[in-house]
């Protein structure tokens, strides 16, 4: 049976649901070995949080170099484990860190790479949604190890309990992977809301908010949603750029996307049209986003959202 290496994804020192998603997809292709990159002394504790997903074994790499040197050191370590295990597939989460790690692993393993897969089948054929989700593409890596990054939140996750045996693997981080040094790290400012690309519900505001996101935020909070914004809203300085959804911002694919006061230019649709359910609130009945919504309300978001917030609150 072929070996599939997954890079276990952590928030702090706890494995995320993304790790179980990687394992779910990986197990279709072979025996999943989850690599845990941990600071010295933390490996066993972090590995112990890998309790869900079809994981066959855990390889713990303890090295302070990863925290200090970031992407380059992580990729160096992961490539070494992949080589040692004779991996046929390396699966990594498709976020900024994961994609860059995968990029360097592909170079180290002289292998092809596919990014932003939303699914990978047993025969290693990856599914991608490209051009803002307007086109489905199936592709395969044809050279070396298949290095694939998988978008969080895109597959039905197998949450089978896991208690895979773990071993410690020694690696040597090369000097070339230590050229940059991280002097300080701060976790993202959470503000109690989920991360945009991982949220199952996203509520976004656009030009129609006129800069007042209070109604959008209140509805987001009652829904347990992340808050997004259109490019118009971030360009106007109404909301932080890190929340921008669209072609030049983040791509999201939640269970529910609620667009408020967003007309829906291609630029914006490219970042959200793969959402499972789309709800639109806009004063302008001609807003293009109404053409692709599952449910729409033509109306003032400052009237509709507070009422919806109250109604949802009553139903909880």
């Amino acid at each position: 049976m072929s070996t599939v290496i997954i890079l276990a994804d952590f928030q702090g020192e706890a494995a995320t649901k993304t790790t179980a998603e990687l394992a779910t997809v990986g197990a279709r292709m072979g025996s999943v070995c989850a690599v845990v990159l941990a600071p010295a002394g933390k490996g066993a504790a972090m590995a112990a949080t890998l309790i869900q997903g079809p994981i066959s074994s855990i390889a713990i790499v303890e090295s302070d170099d990863v925290a200090k040197h970031g992407v380059a050191a992580a990729a160096d370590a992961l490539a070494q484990v992949a080589k040692a295990k004779g991996a046929e597939v390396v699966l990594v989460a498709s976020h900024a860190f994961g994609k860059e790690v995968a990029a360097r692993v592909a170079i180290a393993l002289e292998s092809g790479i596919i990014t932003d897969a939303v699914d990978v089948a047993a025969d290693k054929v990856a599914t991608q949604l490209v051009f803002g989700g307007s086109t489905t593409v199936h592709s395969t890596v044809t050279h070396g190890t298949a290095v694939i990054t998988l978008r969080p939140n895109s597959v039905e996750v197998d949450l089978t309990a896991s208690s895979a045996p773990s071993e410690t693997v020694a690696v040597t981080i090369s000097d070339a992977s230590k050229k940059s040094s991280i002097s300080s790290s701060q976790p993202p400012v959470k503000g109690g809301r989920p991360e945009l690309t991982e949220a199952s519900v996203v509520v976004s505001g656009g030009r129609g908010t006129n800069g007042d996101f209070a109604a959008v935020e209140s509805f987001a909070d009652i829904m347990g949603a992340a808050v997004g914004a259109s490019r118009a809203a971030t360009d106007a300085g109404w909301y932080p750029h890190s929340h921008q959804v669209g072609q030049t911002g983040k791509s999201v694919s939640p269970q529910l996307y609620v667009a408020c006061g967003i007309s829906g230019a291609i630029q914006h649709r490219a970042g959200m049209q793969t959402s499972k359910t789309i709800v639109v609130v806009n004063k302008d009945p001609e807003a293009p986003l109404f053409e692709i919504c599952d449910f729409g309300v033509v109306g003032d978001l400052f009237a509709v959202l507070p009422q919806a917030t109250t109604a949802v609150s009553a139903q909880k």
């Binding site: 592709s139 002097s183 507070p306």
Partner: protein, 267 residues
Amino acid sequence: MSNLDHMKIAVCIKQVPDSWAEKKMVNSRLDREGVDAVLNDLDEYAVEEALRIAEAHGGNEEGGPHTVTVISMGPERATEAVRKSLSMGVNDAILITDAALAGSDALATSAVLAKTIADGGFDLVICGTESTDARMSVIPAMISARLGWAQMTFASKVVVDPAASTVAITRVTEAGVDEISASLPAVISVVEKINEPRYPSFKGIMAAKKKTIETRDLATVGVSVASAWSEVKDFAPRPARSAGVVVTDSGDGGNALATFLAEKKLI
């Protein structure tokens, strides 16, 4: 390397289909012929940042000590995007164009760019975080890996100290904020909104017409490129989403919305 009196800064840029245009596939590749092509939005921030770094330390034009060179790989048509960066104030440009590069993957692209950068004696490479067409976000990391230079990506702030030959960045991603430092040479990618890219001035546009765009083929670059290491098996436009129920708010639109969410078990 220390005390960089004459910094050589390279900016990697890509000509892409206009991000406002509908894109489609032809023969398993993005159709680049049928759409307007522009300088990748996100690369404009890289060009601007390079110019600002040069200007902060004596400038790159009219006798300034530093040079900013754009490097681009693409069809000959990509000269339009290159010209735009020249009109913003970049000194000169290298366009790598070769029929053998059509349909090449990120591995080949990074190999070509890295070889060009290595041969050019650059101290610093600046890229955008991704192209708006492929959106892979892997080229800066790959160039860094191939050159063995410091990787300083997703920078929202860049400070270069030519005297000490060092660079410090603030890296901003969904994982948080990191302060990162390195000795030059380094590969930097900058996030959108790190700066406000300048509009080319009339003077800049006129000056750009006289600037050199050196065109190189693969033999001149000196790398041989394998065919892509990944392969598109099939592709299809996704079925268009059809419009669902749209109601007009007459005082109970919010309740109707909540009812819809409840019916869909989304609450």
